[in-house]
Amino acid sequence: MTEKPHPATILSAPLPRRRVLQGLGAAALVGGIGMPAIVKAQADTITFGHLTPLTGFLGPLGAYGQMGVQLAVEEINGAGGVNGRKINLIMEDSVNPATASSKAERYIERDKAAVIIGEISSASCLAISQVAARNKIVFVNTGGNSDALRGKDCNRYMFHVEGANTQYVKAVGAAMLRDGLIKGKKLFFLTADYAFGHDLSRVAKLYIAANGGEVIADELVPTDASDFSAYMLKIRQMKPDVVISNLAGNQITNFIKQYAEFGLPFPFGGFGFDTAVAWGAGKGNFGGVWPCIWHHDVDTASSKAFVAAFVKKFGKPPENQAWGDYVATKTVARAMNETKSTDSAQIIGFFEKEPKLDILKGREGYYRAWDHQLIQEMYTITAKPVAQVKDQWDLMVLGKAVPGPNDALDVIAPTPAENACSFPV
């Protein structure tokens, strides 16, 4: 039996309302298509999506990341763009892993980004890389250090300009070994309590155990901790031979300042480092020995040109995070130009042939095919004597490049045995 619905039910039925909404949506769509300027702009440009933390304890570094990518895009567009098309750069604050993930999704879905570049937090890197892999879009990590990103969590769509924790540890480790700070010594660790810190501490302990040192304490420090006095007292109590910072972002500033405040006599240094946060410690406070991926004193022609262009645009020298996002953008643009394509498979294929890339260092680098890590020189950094300091950015003395000129570049990188990576199919 069929019943005719009462007219009133039809009036209040949900269907017409949905139709109205659909109609509105269609109208909006037509309206969008009806604006040829926008469509034209989209067809003529290639969108690069940039994500990095601008707030929180990594915010200071993210600001430099944005400057680096802006300068790179400006230079590329100035030189004619990529395959004759200009780059349309979009940048946002990645905030935290959950937000980073949804923003990456939006870049790909809404903005049709051809590539995603950036990030500093290892935890957010993982989140973005999962979105990138699912959508088959290349993501170049410019600041996440954790080895796990290159090993356990690696995937074919993620490349790493930032050094792996192992590269940092082995670079500064060689200097520490030379200075007698590891063999037979007791080391006290302060470790940032999140993905990056945990990973760095794990890698560092392996290195120290392999070289005859002993880690007597490993204190996990919350990322938003700004007071280190309780840790300073604990260090004083335990009387280690060496104090090691596995800290990140603003933590490093506070650690260096308060270490100087308490005047502890033990030599110190770190396995992770960013120049900007050390600048924040100021002269007279900065000390110790640290690893560094790049520094504005690196003496090569391309590096000097980058520093000069950066100072001209932003009025201050670039920090290593600016280098990372600049180099990442330049290498991606080169891959697109050489393959005459913005297709992810083409870009990956290009990099996996391991072409030599200018990365503003003495020796050229390359993305290693099996884990997509940029294989490159690293440096060490020590404090400049206060009397020689010229300005607020001139606190550091840059050591020799590691590995030395006669060693293969990948001797400091994680080996397949240390950090196996098999790309998910």
Binding site: P60, V221, D224, D227, A276, G280, N285, E319
Partner: protein, 293 residues
Amino acid sequence: MPLELVFLIEQLLNGLLVGVAYLLIALGLSLIFSLGGIVNLAHGGFYAIGAYIAVEVGNRFGFPAAFVAAPLSVALIGVVIERVLFARFYRADPILSLLLTFGLAMVIEQALRMAFGATPIPFAIPQFLRGQVFIGDFIYSRYRLAILLVAMAAVLGLWLLLQRTAFGRVVRAGVQNPDMVGALGISLRPYLTAVAAIGIGLAGLAGVMLAPISGVHPAMGAEILTAAFVVVVIGGLGSFWGVVAAGLLVGVVRGLTVYFLPPAAEASMYMLMLLVLLVRPRGLFGERILRFE
């Protein structure tokens, strides 16, 4: 004395020093809330402004000038903010003032970021306060002892102001029963402004005092604000000594947690707050304030 005990006591005393720093922020927060009913989420922002003013003034005219200039100018900013913004929300739904100060906090942080950059700015301990003081087995940073003195003076001064002056009597009456104060022919308006100036000025004072030991960066306010709120909640609203006790307690508990269970250091104060709220929802020495019941 056995060495273990020495270190334990050392952590205890250090915890008190840390707590004193929280105090400067928490007292102002509590004061502004008690009288005006405004939960000032922008309080951390004023602390950050204090630190930046300290850097700018300190680098040109030395630390003593910064020490005077930072709290005063931040208090002045506080007066303007109170007159222009807070004043419109005293009688409004608390959710509105919450949104207002939340937005203000973000505006301040972003303004600092745009004006000074996101990177931490160096600011050192003044030469005459550098170094350590050794008392027996104990080590103290000379600068932190200076913070202790300044904070103690501020707490004492504030207490005297509230307890021993005509001004303080009106403020305390206003906290308990603003309508009655009005009925007696006393307008609370100037008192509300003065209290905001004092509370926000104290945040500026904390800014100049902490700038040399912690990084001066735009998000520094957000970092310390949560701790300050926890202190206010534990201490109990409207209770002067409750907030003082809670500040010290939080510092000590945090110090001891670093000593025994470092990964829980930051969580310890929240655990403490949870415990206090379960046992005494009004806070340790919280008074019964009729209009908030």
